[in-house]
Symmetry: C2
Subunit: 211 residues, 2 copies
């Protein structure tokens, strides 16, 4: 199919598709002549994924490129590629250890990981964007005067562990390794707004029940 048809079937303007091509989010089409290119179903599928990551998942174009590059990197092993989506987090600066709120947050999180039985090598963890972001978030709560200690965090951690089981079950339903990796990326990112929306709706529901 031509660029125009790719645009029509994906909902993205041709200008946007050209932009994604330039930015390396999409493979160039098969050149059919000096000025024409042909795109296939896999381009359409990929484009839809990219648009979902960006529009629904709120991932930046730069992060989307990283995620997709990692997901397609044949030199990495399956496990690593499954974790590709983890790179989609706006990677915060390494938290400032001198800030007392950050120090408190670090202690709470470390204790939490221990209680949950998760691996908790401090050196390795600090390289994990999710871990850094967790510390930053807890530190912000501490700064505002909300305790946010291990006891408060534990129910969240347990629920997250349950979510992970459900999520990986969905990934393992995919028959091919490539399908599993795409599913891991898509489900990691796109279930986030699902989860947050459901939480807010649940708040409204529970609040109505109580008041």
């Amino acid at each position: 199919m031509r660029l125009a048809e790719l645009s029509e079937r994906s909902g993205a303007s041709t200008a946007t598709i050209k932009y994604y091509l330039r930015e390396g989010l999409l493979q160039p089409g098969r050149r059919i002549s000096a000025t024409q290119a042909e795109y296939g179903e896999e381009h359409l599928r990929r484009l839809r994924l990219v648009r979902a990551l960006i529009q629904i998942g709120g991932v930046s174009v730069a992060d989307a490129r990283e995620v997709i590059a990692a997901a397609e990197d044949e030199s990495l092993d399956h496990h690593l590629r499954l974790g590709a989506a983890t790179r989609a987090l706006p990677c915060a600066e390494r938290p400032d250890e001198d800030d007392p709120a950050v120090a408190t947050a670090c202690r709470s999180v470390e204790a939490l990981l221990e209680r949950l039985g998760w691996s908790c090598d401090p050196g390795v963890n600090m390289l994990n964007p999710a871990h850094r972001r967790l510390i930053d978030s807890v530190a912000a709560l501490v700064r505002l005067g909300y305790p946010c200690d291990t006891e408060q965090l534990l129910p969240y951690g347990r629920l997250a562990a349950q979510l992970a089981v459900t999520d990986l079950d969905m990934v393992e339903e995919q028959p091919t390794p490539a399908g599993q990796i795409e599913a891991a990326v898509a489900l990691t990112v796109l279930y986030e707004p699902v989860l947050l929306s459901l939480r807010r709706m649940a708040h409204a529901e529970e609040s109505a029940r109580r008041f």
Copy 2:
């Protein structure tokens, strides 16, 4: 305290504080002379909340203003003000009902709400930004070929219901109504990155366990 001290204790530059004052995210200080103003602890507290919402929660300046205005609106009742933070969602357009993926998503979500026993008046729900965003997200997953039907969503819904209980317990620990409202805003928004980070860490943990 002066603007300079407010800046130092909050970590925001004076230029940023002036910007927030201009945008109405912060009450002006008590005028002490024609060119000086005095700020109190409540200004500092509020500023820290604003910065946490924006930096950690990723809320836009415009949304933060809406949220804070709603939280402080004395003419609303307590229950409504507790839900103020709900307005912080980047409010998507009303989904296009003609899109088959959206239609499928609507059906799945409606069935989900029924299974969860949540109120499910379609007219009212479409006004709720969280509900709209849920539909959009599910529609994106459907478009990518992931089923995302009620069966898949149900575990997420049940977990969200558990989260809401925990969250509202934390809110109810606050002694004053004003404290409860601030806690509702802060905890709704700031536990989101906590939850998402924990989910990604749990993914890594569960994936390591399986592979």
